[in-house]
Structures are given as C-alpha cells and as structure tokens.
C-alpha cells in the first residue's frame, strides 16, 4: 500500500510512520556502533591511552592495506586464501553429500561407521595439522586437506540425518509405485532435503575459512593466514589487524554469496 493512499486511517498512518522511524533508528544505531568503535579506537591510539604499536589503529590498518595494495603484495595473498577456501568448501560439500548419500543407501554401512563418525566429529581436527603436513608436505594440498578435515564430517552427519528424516508417507508412496532406491533418492530424498544441504553449506563456509586459515598458519607460505602469522612474528600489528579485517570482509562476502545461491536454488526447486 502506498503512502499517498488517501484511504489510510490515521492510526495506520501513525503506525507506518512509527515503523519507518524505528527502521531508520536501527540503521542509524548500527552505523553509529561501528563508527563509534573505530573512532574510539583511533582516538585512544592518538591520545596515547593505548599503545598503537601493540593495539594498532584504524588509520594504521588502512595505511597498511593501502601500502600492500600499491606494492601489489595484497592481492595475491587474498586470492590464494579465497581460492583455497572456495575449493575446500566445494570439495567438502560435494564429498560430504556423496558420503551421506552412500550411508543413506546402506544402513548397514551407516550402523558400522556411526561410532567412528561420532569420534571423528568430536576430535579437534587442528590436531591433525602436523600429521597432514608430514603426509602431503607443506603446500596448498595440506591447506585443502585441513579445510576438508574440519568441514567434511559435520557435513556428512548433518546431511545424513536429514536424508534419514525423509517423510515416511512419501517414501511409502514411492515404494508402492515400485520405485527402487536410486529412484527414491533422485525423486524424493535429494530434492526434499535440498534446504538441509544448503544449511550445511552455510555452516561449511565458516568451517572452510577456519580450516584454510589454520592450514596457512601451519604451512606459512602465502595467504591471509600467512600474513597474520608473519605480521605477528615481525611485530607488525598493523599487518595482523589488516589480515583479520580482510578475512572478516571476505568471509562475510562469501556467506552473502551462499545466501544468494540459496534463494536461486530454492526458487528453482520450488
């Protein structure tokens, strides 16, 4: 309903105005929180309340990012990390869904593997880091494996549980129509659980970042994770903070991308 609509009752007009005010206020508060934080940080550093050498400051972080952009050292690191994360994410999702499908296929295998999956899920995967590096060497392969180790088991468990929770009545219907397992999977289990798979994707994005940064910490050759470790070793906190900031932005952007993908996918199957 448009605001110029003359049939609006006074109460409705008041309510709409109040809603608009509220939305504006929330937006303002959001921006104020960020600006206030940055301003407070900057001021504290300038006035000497905190040690800018240790705590860094927004202007120093901006300067560090600008410097790295100009000398061309930023982009390769950013690209490396993003590519590794994307690869880990795609691989983890595809492999995880595939394994979940196989477990759904064979309840016997699922029952046999269940305790192992639970234990692997509980294991802090970071502990595998040194093992992975010894096995495949300190390189992109190790980073990818680290990302997989962190995201795969969760994906498998999550997707497998949703596959198993498929509506029994729909299962009965398809079986009565003479459908085999492959047919049931293709027509019912997979499309019916796409929302769950997408949910796993959302969790996976975050976990892939954790895995990749963890891997870069250990491998320390390139990427944002490397920048952070390097920065802390040479005591350049500006560099460390710049790395964290870039990471935050990249992760947020990727999450946004998945939300967009979700909308497209759901529209396609709905």
């Amino acid at each position: 309903m448009s605001m110029s609509d003359t049939s609006l009752s006074p109460a409705r007009t008041r309510w709409l105005a109040a809603q608009r005010r509220r939305r504006g206020l929330i937006l303002f508060a959001k921006a104020a929180l960020l600006l206030g934080f940055l301003l407070g940080w900057e001021l504290s550093a300038r006035l000497g309340w905190i040690d800018a050498f240790i705590m860094s400051s927004p202007s120093r972080i901006a300067a560090a990012i600008w410097r790295m952009t100009c000398d061309g050292s930023l982009f390769p690191h950013l690209l490396t990390t993003c590519a590794e994360t994307a690869a880990g994410f795609v691989l983890g999702t595809l492999l995880g869904t595939l394994i979940a499908a196989l477990l759904w296929w064979s309840p016997f295998a699922a029952q046999v593997l269940e305790p192992y999956l639970v234990i692997l899920n509980a294991l802090p995967k970071v502990a595998l880091g040194p093992v992975i590096i010894v096995w495949v060497g300190a390189g992109p392969k190790a980073i990818l494996l680290m990302a997989l180790a962190i995201s795969l088991i969760v994906t498998v468990l999550e997707v497998f549980h949703s596959f198993n929770a498929t509506d029994t009545e729909m299962l009965t219907l398809l079986r009565a129509m003479g459908a085999g397992k492959l047919c049931i999977f293709r027509l019912l289990v997979l499309p019916g659980n796409l929302p769950a798979v997408i949910n796993a994707l959302k969790v996976n994005v975050g976990l892939s970042w954790v895995g990749v940064i963890m891997g870069e910490f250990l491998v320390s050759k390139a990427g944002i994770g490397y920048l952070i470790v390097y920065g802390s070793q040479v005591f350049q906190m500006d560099l460390v903070m710049a790395g964290v900031l870039l990471l935050t932005c990249a992760a947020a952007l990727m999450y946004r991308g998945i939300v967009l993908l979700e909308k497209v996918l759901i529209r396609h199957i709905r």
């Binding site: 009965t172 009565a176 709905r270």
Partner: protein, 254 residues
C-alpha cells in the same frame, strides 16, 4: 461377481528386539471387481498392515494374496496407493506430482501426459496444473492425490485413511467427491478408515476387523442401494441404525 483380490488365510507378525507382535492372524477376504470396500476396526488392530500387504509392501508370513489370480509378491502396477496425508511433493507442480508414477516407472510418454491432463481437467484441476501443492486447498490436494493414483491406470485403489488430515466439514464433501470420481472411473477401491459414518456413506461392503491380531469379524453389506451418493446416504433414515449396529460390532471399550 468376479473377484479382483483374494486374500487366503494370511498371517503376519512384526518382529522387533522386544519380541514379536502378531498383527494379522489367519485372515481371509476378497474384493469384488468394481466395489468400494471399507475396512474398519479398533485402533491399532492391523488395518493399515492389511493395506500394506495388499499394496505388496509387506509380505505375509503365511497365506497368500491373489490379484486376479496371480500372487502379489511386491508393488504391482495394477495397484495404486493413496496415502493418509496427500503426500504431494511440495517442490513439484500439481501436474508434475500427478505424473510421479510415470517418472518412477520411466513410462512418461505423450499418451501418459495426455491422460493425466485429461484427468486434471475432468476433475477441475487443469487451472492448477502448474501451481504448487501449497497453493491448493485441502480438498483440492486430496483430489490431486487421487488423480496421481488414477494416472497410473491401476485396477485397484488402496486408500489409507485418505481423509483423516482434513477438518470435519471438508472431509464429508471430499469423501463424496472422491467416491464420485472412483465410481465414475469404474475402479475398485479398498479404504481403511476409523470413521464409521464415512465408511457407511461410501462403501458397498464394510469389513469389520477384530482386535489385534486382525481377522475378519463381520462383513456388512450396504443396503442403501448402489446409486445413492454418500451425502444422500448420510440423510437416509436407515443410516443411524446402521451406524449403531456397526458401532456395537466394533466393540469399543473406553
């Protein structure tokens, strides 16, 4: 009259870690070509188990089920199941849901699609063919579910408490609607229900099962006349007496 189904002394026990539960014990019955048979019985007596056996989803431990003389050993193309809730897949359009059986049996052909479209338009759903189930009313969803069952051209329809998910008013009209379509299509139907007045209003015969393990306790033959539609039956003077008799036969103790 010619029999489409013969159930010959079947027994079935459910096995579990806690022991075995006899669900059906030495049950024999038959279904005549073209009749509408309802199965009623105390709750948990094994009505739905019997239906699953007829659908070929469960195999009896003993005895045999014959479909036009041939034993049923698994799901059969001549048998169509209509489940309790409509079980329409929410991500498929109504038309695509109706053609689900063809997609399962890889028999989606131009003829099959034309037949499904003809059914949709004959029963007033052609305008909703491209809509999703969530955009349909409960009655229309049930009708779509029936058309999905009819689209595979089965000879025998199995209805598992098909109206139990609907509210009372809708249930009465939808039951009449479904009954009309099934009679028009000259299909044989076996319906499991817990609603006695529903059973009385649509059935030619009513099978009363005993408590678990199920066996046939009595068979009621409708005497309202074959051409009296469900809504008129509910108004029939003999309806209340028939209901009373059926109720007593069920032997429900609270």
């Amino acid at each position: 009259m010619q029999k489409i189904v013969n159930v010959l002394g079947i027994s079935l026990r459910y096995q579990s870690d806690d022991g075995e539960i006899p669900a059906i014990a030495d049950l024999s019955m038959d279904v005549a070509e073209g009749e509408f048979l309802s199965i009623v019985g105390p709750s948990g007596c094994g009505k739905s188990t019997l239906l699953s056996v007829l659908a070929g989803l469960l195999q009896p431990d003993a005895g045999q089920v014959l479909l036009r003389g041939d034993p049923i050993t698994g799901p059969h193309p001549a048998v169509g199941l209509m489940p309790q809730r409509d079980a329409l897949l929410p991500w498929r359009t109504v038309r695509s849901n109706v053609l689900l059986g063809q997609d399962v049996s890889h028999s989606r052909s131009r003829e099959a699609e034309a037949y499904a479209d003809a059914l949709l338009s004959a029963y007033g759903l052609s305008g909703f063919a491209q809509k999703y189930p969530s955009e349909l009313s409960g009655g229309m969803r049930q009708r779509a579910a029936l058309i999905r069952t009819l689209a595979t051209q089965p000879a025998l329809l199995l209805l598992d408490e098909p109206f139990s998910s609907l509210d009372y008013q809708t249930r009465i009209t939808v039951a009449a609607d479904i009954h009309r379509i099934i009679k028009q299509q000259q299909k044989t139907a076996v319906m499991v229900t817990h609603d006695l007045s529903e059973a009385l209003s649509v059935s030619d015969r009513i099978l009363v099962l005993s408590r678990r393990p199920a066996s046939v306790k009595r068979i009621f033959v409708s005497d309202f006349g074959p051409d009296v539609p469900p809504l008129a039956r509910r108004e029939h003077p003999a309806f209340a007496a028939a209901f009373e008799q059926l109720w007593r036969e069920l032997d429900v103790h609270v």
